[in-house]
Amino acid sequence: MRRTMFRNRKAMVFNIMIVIFTITILVYAFIRLSAKMNSSKEIGVSEFDLVAKIQEGEKAMIFLDSAAKMAIYQAVYDLQAQGGISEATLCGIYYGFNKWNSDTGQTCFVDADSAKNSMRDLFVSNLVARVAKYPSADFVGNVPAAAYARGAALISPAGAVSNVSQVAFSGEKRLSKEQKDVLLTTLASKYGYELAVLKAILVVEAGSQGFNPEDTLKIRMEAHKFNEYCGCKEGSWGSSTLVGRAIGGVSCEGGQVNEHLCLKKAISINENAAYQAISMGLPQIMGFNSKRIGYSSPKEMFDDFSRSESIQIEKLIVFLSTDSRLSQAIKDKDWSTIGAIYNGDKTGKYAARLVQNYKPEQGTAIV
């Protein structure tokens, strides 16, 4: 009997133990799996995330492919629109298009190397401009500053400036400070100038304003030059020594209103001489330089300068780059030479004013 009872209990315990053991194992498995599910990603999710990341890269490549194709098309167009070269030449510019022959018979044909370099520059600028718009990746993080600046200018609020000719037609008469900076940055980097030097010139010449509050072009009548071009005697029509600057008895001193009255009087005497004798706009370039910067007459220059500050800035660059000594002086920051060539001042006063207004910390986006 005792033996029977013992066997019976053992059987019972065995069955119950199996159930308890199974429950324990399953609960343990459930707890472990639940912990895995809660603490980290579920099985397979990481793998899909990895695939999704690869796909993001693929999508970026699609964008990059399309941007590169569009950029190369645009670069080809820009290059031909600029006469096969992106730099200004000594032959001058006609509405932004580099001329291959100057009016004096000089030739400025494009060679293969310069065309290649121009093509590369234009392509990089156009590519940067497009890929900078991609919202999901930073394509432009390692792009050189100059290329980035050119590309950024293409998509700036100032308007597309993919070539110099387009600058002239950006449409806005006055540019904001930011727009001027973008445009100057683009052109300065393109021609190898330092932005701060160009800004110093514009501040000294015209206080960085190409137009007066009444929307007239900022000018300065050089009466002695008027005399020279009209063949007038000193003091008869123009005067710059005895009673200040005056034309035909009309004083040019006392502000921009008087400058324009003076110009009006000068025009009534000799129109061509009048426009030749004034300096104009932001860079205050004299009218007698009109042909050098691509105009057929000083009157045409006056009319074009009256359209937009962007045109005035473009012509400043043309003016600088068509004088190799001046251009080099700008690059070297040779203030006295700049003063002597740009302003005709050999006393050093102009150079001192340039130095005073040279603020490189405000123009760092230059190579």
């Binding site: 899909f48 999508k59 597309a160």
Partner: protein, 215 residues
């Protein structure tokens, strides 16, 4: 013989209690297995659904990539449909009206421009062959001058059945909560000032919104 031996060895009471214990143990054992089977099954279903949803997102993106890289021959020119879209976008402007019915939009798209017709025809063909008509898919090409909208016919029923979402406008609002990377592919424009062309490809809108529920 054996039964007689059992009886002899354990007795009648022990035999009955033994059977009772065995039956209960087996019942509990089966119940335990069943309960845990259901628990594991349930978690597996939700996990599989999550993976399926992720796979659908990947597939939707993959379709957009295949679409954009598909080569076309237009006259003598060889280019991809993506390039054709970019060129068309640059050259054309058309009235955009999101409130138009799909039928009207399709009709306006099928107007005279041959580039447009090539894009629309190709898109129709591609979407018809690659997207599951039994799901609520959407395929949209959107830019300043292009507005092509393809959606599964299943969408209407699905959208109306989803709480708080009874129009396409609502759908756009809800999609704002979904990361762009999960359904948008970008294409560069010819004009660098323009915003990129966007291609929305959602293989299963309902499941995508389930994965990223609107806030």
């Amino acid at each position: 013989m054996s039964r007689i031996r059992c009886k002899r060895r354990f007795g009648k009471r022990a035999f009955i209690s033994d059977i009772l214990v065995d039956i209960w143990a087996i019942i509990i054992f089966v119940l335990v297995i069943l309960i845990f089977y259901l628990i594991f099954k349930q978690s597996e279903v939700s996990r599989r659904q999550t993976l399926q949803d992720k796979q659908d997102i990947v597939y939707g993106n993959y379709l957009a990539q295949v679409y954009l890289r598909t080569p076309l021959t237009i006259g003598t020119q060889k280019l991809t449909i993506g390039e054709l879209i970019a060129l068309y976008d640059y050259n054309q402007s058309m009235e955009k009206n999101r409130t138009k019915s799909f039928a009207e939009s399709a009709e306006s798209l099928l107007s005279s421009n041959p580039m447009k017709k090539a894009i629309v025809d190709f898109t129709d063909d591609f979407v018809g062959k690659n997207f599951d008509s039994n799901r609520c898919f959407i395929f949209i090409i959107k830019s300043k001058n292009i507005d092509i909208f393809k959606a599964g016919t299943y969408c209407d029923a699905t959208l109306y059945s989803m709480q708080g979402m009874n129009s396409w406008t609502q759908m756009y609002d809800n999609l704002k909560g979904v990361p762009n990377a999960t359904y948008v592919t970008y294409l560069a424009t010819v004009d660098p000032r323009g915003d990129p062309i966007t291609i929305w490809s959602v293989y299963d809108l309902e499941r995508t919104l389930a994965l990223y529920p609107p806030k």
